[in-house]
Symmetry: C2
Subunit: 174 residues, 2 copies
DNA sequence: TGAGTGTTATTACAATATGGAATATTCTCG
DNA sequence: CGAGAATATTCCATATTGTAATAACACTCA
């Protein structure tokens, strides 16, 4: 029932713009989102199949002469709700910014959703808290290897926070 | 024959210290490396099995009364060569620093291998080159989303480079 | 003109990965 | 003494991934 992975959400995001069949979904993904995310054909089909089983999408067959029938997927209300929940929630780790958070920003912009600065602020909150925790851990560490590890996390989180603050300017609420 | 994934290398690193059976390898992993890497039991066993097939390790059975026989794994010369190749080569992406590069540093320290600053310098070289490429891409981009994406990469890479320079001090050649 | 390549469109299958449970004994702590 | 943690490994059911098979047509370049 539940999916933890994010590629499903990306596919939901694509279907938010209207019904599409698997091949089209993949094409869109490859052309518009390839800068930060890759999904293979078979993955797209497999995910859509599962999403249909989960009630996030429904399909209808469109028969074609001399070609295999297209299977056109539409997002359901449940799917829309799920997608929007995802789009407006921050990611848990710095490592998820590069792909998952980017995807959220991408769809918020693409679908002209309101509240970009809201999600950016929430994300800043999450990372700020992690930063504080890591700083505390670092202070309580004698081992130099552990300290180096913590320094790395602190450096990455700090630069992510700087970037998020820049983002608020880039994506300044229309 | 070839393995692209790194967990194998971590197991080789552990076996560099001497023969161990699966459970011991996992225990060591869990206690010493858990700060930056997690592997499940079944993964450890599966990996060791494959590594034996690949000639990186060999096993001998140690029979025990009233207990299942322990399977003790030793690293082969091929395994040692492979491990050292890996340990002294930089990772390709910033995202691989957190786990894989950390593991290299960990083993270099743990096994008292020479040339920490060598690998750090190589890593700095790789990331510096990526940084230049990304900076160029950013300049040639009109789209604001693309620009934000590039900014993120630049920020993360820059902070990683700063950290690597700090590392040279932390791990100053004994 | 025809051979090869690219696009549209989906399914099937094999290989691997991952998580969880099954098994069975011994140690440890209250 | 009994509960539960530790020792030690294997097995199995899914998940995931990559590759190939299929099939028609459009394009292209020699």
């Amino acid at each position: 029932m539940s999916f933890k992975l994010s590629p499903e959400y990306a596919l939901l995001g694509i279907l938010m713009r209207g019904p599409k069949h698997g091949y089209e979904v993949h094409s869109y993904f490859s052309s518009e989102m390839s800068q930060f995310w890759h999904l293979s054909m078979s993955q797209v089909y497999a995910l859509l199949k599962r999403m249909e089983k989960n009630g996030m999408v429904v399909s209808r067959k469109e028969l074609q002469e001399k070609r295999p029938a297209k299977k056109i997927f539409s997002i359901t209300q449940a799917g829309k709700d799920r997608f929007l929940d995802w789009a407006y929630s921050p990611v848990k780790h710095v490592r998820d910014l590069r792909i998952e958070f980017m995807a959220k920003l991408f769809f918020i912009k693409e679908l002209k959703l309101k509240g970009v600065s809201g999600i950016i602020d929430k994300q800043i909150g999450v990372l700020q808290e992690k930063l504080d925790v890591t700083r505390n851990s670092k202070e309580r560490t004698a081992d130099e290897f552990q300290a180096a590890l913590h320094s790395f996390k602190i450096a990455q989180t700090t630069s992510a926070l700087d970037w998020l603050n820049q983002c608020k300017i880039y994506f300044y609420e229309n």
